[in-house]
């Protein structure tokens, strides 16, 4: 991975003083991410270019990390080529003094903006060339970011996530290095960048003087710190890879902030939870199953209300249950609170008699994650075997999708959604389930409601006939 830094300041060779690296030599430094070489392709009065080339040994890189080195992605990846977070780490280590802005030989120059041209030929960027513009332009850089095609032999594959990034401007060298140090990882977003506890500290130091005024400040902080993965997914990643899938975590196509809610400060997910809680209270449920509890957001709300005397959070993902365990701080709860809640790995497509006999089961945003062909299995497991007195189901209303400006037409709200139902389709399914399983069903809107397209989320309350 390569980065070149050029100046036409006269004399240009002063760049050597600023960087603390002699233009006539090639030097090698051992850094946390590999061997960093610094050399000058050109160094004369008019123009001087310093190059930072990081040589990564991918085999050595995985050898020390036995625990999570069990997916192919750990072995064949872009680390030896792409200039992302690893290059940023090398940059800060090799040019530490220059980044601070100290230059004993040319103290004045270090504090002076000089013309700079920087090229990063393979800069990974998760959101395309616009992102580079949004990140660098406000800091005074002119940005020329060209997407690199994935493979010229397969033009239909489109562009890769790499940019051939060129920026130029008149800035202090130390500022330029700090910008790169913070923004290359922000653009990268790759998961091999591990965020340690001291990273917030580092961000504040490197962002001193420019980050607070940056229009994308929140995005930068979030992205810089966001690469910590919620939970270990290695086993799943392995199985995905066997099929030639990727381990891409399913993502919300609609980030919460983009949800139409101008008149409501509350995000849709909170509105949804409130609607579910209201429905549970209305049917006087005390012993409640949260099927597909995920990270435990609803469990936390249920726990806060003592009328819910027995709360069981179920999820098919052991990782999600770990996350819920942490979120609820189960091990720190007082005994009496802890006795009210239990977590259990279970699946809505396998019958689980241990879930029988509850007042209510919640399927909040769950059915749309189940293949339509497997819904009869869900019906049998939840309505047949668990057979709670009430079942509360929420699912997106597909009709409402046209009202999301950020959602491309025909796209679903989440990459793992197998379907999104119109109101008619949902009610058709719900009525069928109710008829087959001995329930009655009623519907309620959740979230912002449009006179034509209906509410953004639809909710159904099933009640067992003899319980109604």
């Amino acid at each position: 991975m390569l980065l070149t830094l050029t100046t036409n300041h006269t004399p240009a060779t002063d760049l050597g003083y600023l960087l603390f690296k002699h233009p006539g030599k090639a030097q090698a430094f051992s850094t946390a991410s590999g061997t960093a070489h610094v050399f000058y392709p050109r160094a004369d009065e008019d123009e001087c270019t310093a190059a930072l080339l990081l040589e990564v040994d991918p085999i050595a890189l995985v050898r020390g990390r036995r625990n999570d080195a069990f997916t192919l992605g750990q072995y064949v990846n872009d680390r030896p080529y792409a200039a992302g977070s690893m290059l940023a780490v090398a940059l800060s280590s090799v040019f530490r003094t220059a980044m601070i802005g100290r230059c004993d030989q040319r103290p004045g120059l270090a504090a002076t903006p000089i013309p700079l041209r920087i090229r990063v030929p393979a800069a990974p960027c998760w959101a395309g060339p616009d992102m580079a513009e949004r990140l660098f332009a406000p800091l005074g850089w002119r940005v020329d970011a060209r997407p690199v095609p994935l493979d010229t032999e397969f033009p239909e594959w489109g562009d890769s996530r790499y940019l051939d990034l060129r920026i130029e401007g008149e800035l202090k060298l130390s500022d330029a290095l700090k910008h790169l140090y913070v923004l290359l990882p922000v653009m990268d977003g790759a998961k091999h960048y591990w965020v340690g506890e001291d990273e917030i500290e580092k961000l504040l130091r490197a962002g001193d003087g420019w980050l607070s005024g940056h229009p994308e400040r929140d995005l930068i902080s979030l992205r810089y710190l966001a690469h910590r993965r919620g939970y270990q997914r290695t086993a799943l990643d392995r199985l995905a890879e066997l099929d030639g899938g990727t381990e891409a975590e399913p993502v919300d196509v609609l980030p919460e902030a983009a949800v139409l809610a101008e008149d409501k400060p509350e995000p849709l997910s909170a509105t949804r939870r409130r609607a579910v809680l209201d429905a549970l209270r209305e049917v006087r449920a005390h012993r409640v199953l949260d099927l597909g509890c995920g990270g435990g957001a609803l469990l936390r709300d249920l726990l806060a209300d003592p009328t819910f005397t027995e709360i069981v959070g179920c999820d098919v993902s052991a990782g999600a249950l770990d996350a819920a365990q942490r979120r609820l701080r189960l091990d720190q709860l007082p005994d009496r609170a802890r006795d009210r809640v239990a977590l259990r790995q279970s699946s809505v497509t396998y019958t689980d008699p241990a879930l029988a006999g509850y007042d209510a089961a919640v399927l909040m945003e769950v059915v749309e994650h189940v293949d339509a062909s497997r819904l009869p299995a869900l019906e049998r497991a939840v309505f047949g075997t668990a057979n709670p007195r009430h079942v509360i189901v929420t699912t997106p209303n597909a009709e409402y999708n046209v009202l999301y400006p950020n959602l491309p037409a025909g796209k679903m709200r989440h990459t793992d959604h197998r379907f999104e139902w119109t109101r008619a389709r949902f009610q058709d399914w719900a009525q069928g389930v109710a008829d087959r399983c001995g329930y009655t069903v009623r519907y309620a809107p959740v979230g912002p409601e449009d006179p034509v397209h209906g509410p953004s989320t639809q909710l159904a309350v099933f009640s067992r006939k003899e319980a109604a």
Binding site: H37, L53, I59, F154, G244
Partner: protein
């Protein structure tokens, strides 16, 4: 004195302190059979005589006793048990586990007990304790039977105790020594003509009395009929049915279990107050025409009927209304009641009839359970159980199941003899055919799967946990998912040179394990695909309990294509199978194919673009720029020669890397461009084909290809004799040419196919293909030398275990075992695949 002790019983010793219970128990029972209160007192308190620990000690004792009884083990309670309350608790425990409580009383004179206690230093309590025990015992003696003990043996005095002998006694439901073959016949309800017809159909010769009435039937090959009960009521000739059945049973040609109608008939004949309904009136009227003598015979026969039988080593259970696993071979009122009436949910349906709990859906026992009681239109397997009541008296048919052949034989009712209260087969959203939903307990937690080829294979709980998520979120319906292919180990690593893998090691490996003839198969550049193919749309509902015409799934059970494309692919494969004449040849209406589907990009496009092409793109722009910068610096006289050379070499590697993955990519449009290379017929109908030589499988593949050359790809192959240097050399050349032309490599398999404890195949991958696996720069000498240090042991062991699980699943499938038994194996393969093993192997 002989003391008969039933096979499944809880033996309660009763006697005063010092009466010699422990000595008696030691003499007649194994140490593990005896649970002594003293011992349990010691366990919970370190002091066998600490009476304050008694409550905890008995808790623990009851717990262990419960576990033993649940497993059907004779258990002996060594405690004084002279008081009523502890005995009551033990009787309750026995009933909970449906075993018979038996009392053995040691009635020993007080003086003897006192003397014995005095001889023991730890028993320093006075003689008054023995005196009290004796008094309590005397009071108990008269009431033990009434308390619920099914047998009470009283041993009076030391000599009787000394002479006592325990005689194990078989329960009357235990006919495990009778191995059949049997013809199990469903509810008859007085339909004598149909019964005679069915027996004839089954090959029995009917004998008649001088009035021409059928009084017996015998099968020339010694087969025996087993009647599931409800011989009587509703139909036209209950006495005739009874005459025939009683004759068969008495002559040893048949067995019969009791139905609820026989039970009620006996009560009615004895003049008990019963509601005369459900066709009882007809029976009583018809029997009224018969002689007193005949009626007495009927009453005795029906009264003597056992509620269920265990047959054939426990592999077959017959009970009128079915029987869950926990009740097999047990005896209690609850067991009898279930066997006669079944389980009800406590609700009634719209016809006012009780709603029956579908116990068979939860059934997970190994024994086949055959029953009747609830009329169905057609008999269907549900978890290894089958209801044979096909409503003959209501105008349906009379059905028998041949055991062990598992074939049903039916004759139509001659007319509607009795109008049903409700239509046959009431609408049941979940009942009927093989349930679509398996139980969580079928798959989660630590599991030990018994396999025919490798014994027990363990799946750890956390492996199952990972697999549960994948199976639940991504896999096709379990009714389609009958097999997952095992992982495959690579050839042993080449020790030196420019290659990591080479055929020489693979051939040598098989030779060293005594495999002389191997088959080299071209390794296709695609994705593994398992194809479940049915002859037409009627097959899957009947055979697999699901609508549709088949499935195509990946090696982790995901659907390969969307529904439409899958349907079109299956149509093509079906047409080819038909043209190749495979249905008749394999005598089947479904088959399971193991295949490779190409191109790789058809399924793995995400992996290719996100990972491989992305790496290529980054390298393709970064390395030339780096080389240029270094060349410029070198031009200025800076010493970067080594770094420049390395960078140039990596640039070449990156170019080769791109070339390697590009070979796997070609555009497809629908089925256009899709190629399928089947290489093994896994199973069809009742056969697993793992013992047919690979050339047999490839010949069938060739015939499919001949039928549809556009879809099917040929699998090039070569037989190699590992003992013959010339043949080995030819194999090496074949592989070299294959891989140098851009091929992925080959798989070397024992030519004979399945061999015990032998890898079913090892892969030998080409130099350029491995670039995709080990990274663009793996061929650099410094990298190669480190990569040679790879451990294949775990991978090979995993490959063998997964292979054995796969075969076991297929064996269960073709034996017609219930879905959960097949799914157990399929799930286990997926669970083992979540093992952390170097994915490059």
């Amino acid at each position: 004195m002989d003391l008969p002790i039933p096979d499944m019983s809880l033996v309660v010793l009763i006697g005063a302190s010092g009466s010699g219970k422990s000595t008696f128990a030691r003499k007649h029972f194994a140490p593990t059979q005896v649970l002594s209160s003293d011992y349990f007192r010691g366990l919970v308190s370190d002091d066998e005589n600490d009476q304050s620990a008694s409550a905890d000690a008995f808790d623990a004792l009851h717990y262990i006793a419960g576990k033993r009884l649940s497993a059907g083990k004779v258990t002996v309670i060594d405690a004084t048990n002279v008081q009523r309350e502890p005995r009551e608790q033990l009787i309750k425990l026995a009933r909970e586990h449906h075993v018979l409580p038996v009392a053995i009383v040691l009635d020993i004179p007080e003086a003897v007990c006192v003397r014995r206690n005095a001889e023991r230093p730890d028993r320093d309590f006075g003689a008054h304790v023995v005196k009290r025990h004796r008094a309590e015992l005397r009071r108990a003696l008269g009431s033990l039977q009434r308390e619920g003990f099914r047998k009470v043996h009283v041993l009076r005095g030391e000599s009787e105790v000394d002479e006592a002998r325990i005689v194990p006694e078989r329960l009357n439901n235990d006919l495990r020594d009778q191995t059949g073959p049997f013809d199990v016949i469903g509810d008859i309800h007085g339909c004598r003509a149909e019964l005679e017809e069915l027996l004839g159909e089954l090959g029995y010769a009917i004998t008649r009395d001088d009035q021409g009435r059928s009084v017996g039937a015998r099968h020339p090959e010694g087969r025996r009929a087993v009647f599931v009960g409800d011989l009587v009521d509703r139909g036209p000739d209950t006495p005739g049915v009874l005459r025939l059945v009683m004759g068969m049973v008495e002559a040893g040609d048949a067995l019969a279990v009791c139905g609820n109608h026989e039970q009620k008939l006996v009560r009615a004949m004895r003049g008990r107050k019963v509601t005369v309904a459900h066709g009882l009136a007809e029976s009583l009227a018809q029997l009224g025409e018969e002689s007193d003598e005949y009626r007495a015979r009927v009453e005795a026969f029906c009264d003597g009927l056992i509620s269920h039988y265990r047959l054939d080593g426990g592999n077959l259970v017959v009970a009128h209304a079915g029987l869950p696993q926990a009740y097999h071979g047990r005896a209690s009122g609850r067991v009898r009641s279930f066997a006669l009436y079944g389980d009800t949910t406590g609700e009634t349906d719209e016809y006012g009839l009780p709603v029956r709990y579908p116990w068979a859906n939860d059934y997970r026992g190994r024994a086949m359970v055959l029953y009747g009681h609830t009329p169905v239109v057609d008999p269907e397997w549900v978890n290894g159980t089958m209801c044979l009541d096909t409503g003959c008296v209501f105008g349906g048919k009379l059905t028998a199941l041949r055991y062990p052949e598992r074939e049903t034989v039916s004759v139509k009712a001659h007319q509607v003899w009795y109008e049903p209260t409700r239509p046959l087969a009431p609408p049941d959203p979940f009942g009927g055919r093989e349930p679509s939903t398996l139980a969580l307990s079928d798959v989660v937690g630590k599991r030990v799967v018994d396999t025919g080829t490798m014994g027990q294979i363990t799946v750890r709980g956390e492996q199952a946990a990972s697999a549960l998520e994948v199976m639940s979120r991504f896999a096709v319906d379990p009714r389609w998912l009958l097999y997952l292919p095992p992982t495959m180990a690579p050839t042993p690593t080449r020790a030196d040179g420019e290659l990591l893998e080479h055929p020489t090691e693979a051939f040598a490996d098989f030779r060293s394990r005594g495999v002389r003839e191997v088959l080299c198969e071209e390794k296709h550049m695609g994705s593994r695909a398992v194809v479940l193919l049915t002859r037409d749309e009627s097959v899957a509902p009947a055979r697999f309990g699901i609508d549709g015409d088949g499935a195509v799934h990946t090696r982790t059970g995901r659907p390969f294509f969307d529904e439409d494309l899958t349907g079109r692919l299956l149509t093509r494969v079906r047409a080819a199978a038909t043209e190749a004449g495979l249905w008749a040849e394999l005598d089947t209406d479904w088959m399971l194919l193991d295949a490779e589907l190409m191109p790789w990009s058809a399924k793995a496009s995400a992996l290719i673009t996100d990972q491989y092409a992305a790496v290529g793109a980054a390298a393709g722009v970064a390395l030339p720029a780096a080389a240029d910068a270094l060349a410029e610096a070198a031009g200025r006289g800076v010493d970067v020669a080594d770094l420049l050379a390395r960078t140039r070499s990596r640039e070449t590697n990156a170019t080769d890397f791109r070339a390697a993955y590009r070979r796997y990519c070609w555009p497809t449009d629908g089925l256009d461009g899709v190629r399928l290379a089947p290489f093994q017929i896994l199973a069809a109908q009742a056969t697993v084909f793992h013992d047919r030589p690979h050339t047999w499988h490839l010949t069938i593949a060739d015939r499919l290809r001949a039928a549809d050359p556009d879809l099917f790809a040929v699998t090039r192959n070569l037989v190699v004799d590992t003992e013959d240097a010339g043949s080995v050399g030819a194999g090496v050349r074949w592989w070299t040419e294959l891989t140098e032309a851009g091929g992925e490599g080959m798989v070397v398999k024992p030519a004979a196919n399945h061999l015990p404890k032998t890898q079913p195949g090892v892969k030998v991958r080409g130099r350029e293909y491995l670039r995709i696996i080990y990274g663009p720069d793996y061929t650099e000498p410094a990298n190669l030398s480190r990569l040679r240090d790879r451990n294949l042991g775990h991978k090979r062991s995993l490959a063998l275990r997964e292979y054995a699980l796969g075969l076991e699943g297929l064996a269960r499938l073709t034996r017609g075992e219930p879905l959960w038994r097949v799914h157990e194996c399929v799930f286990a393969v997926l669970a083992l695949e979540s093992e952390p093993v170097d994915p490059r192997l």
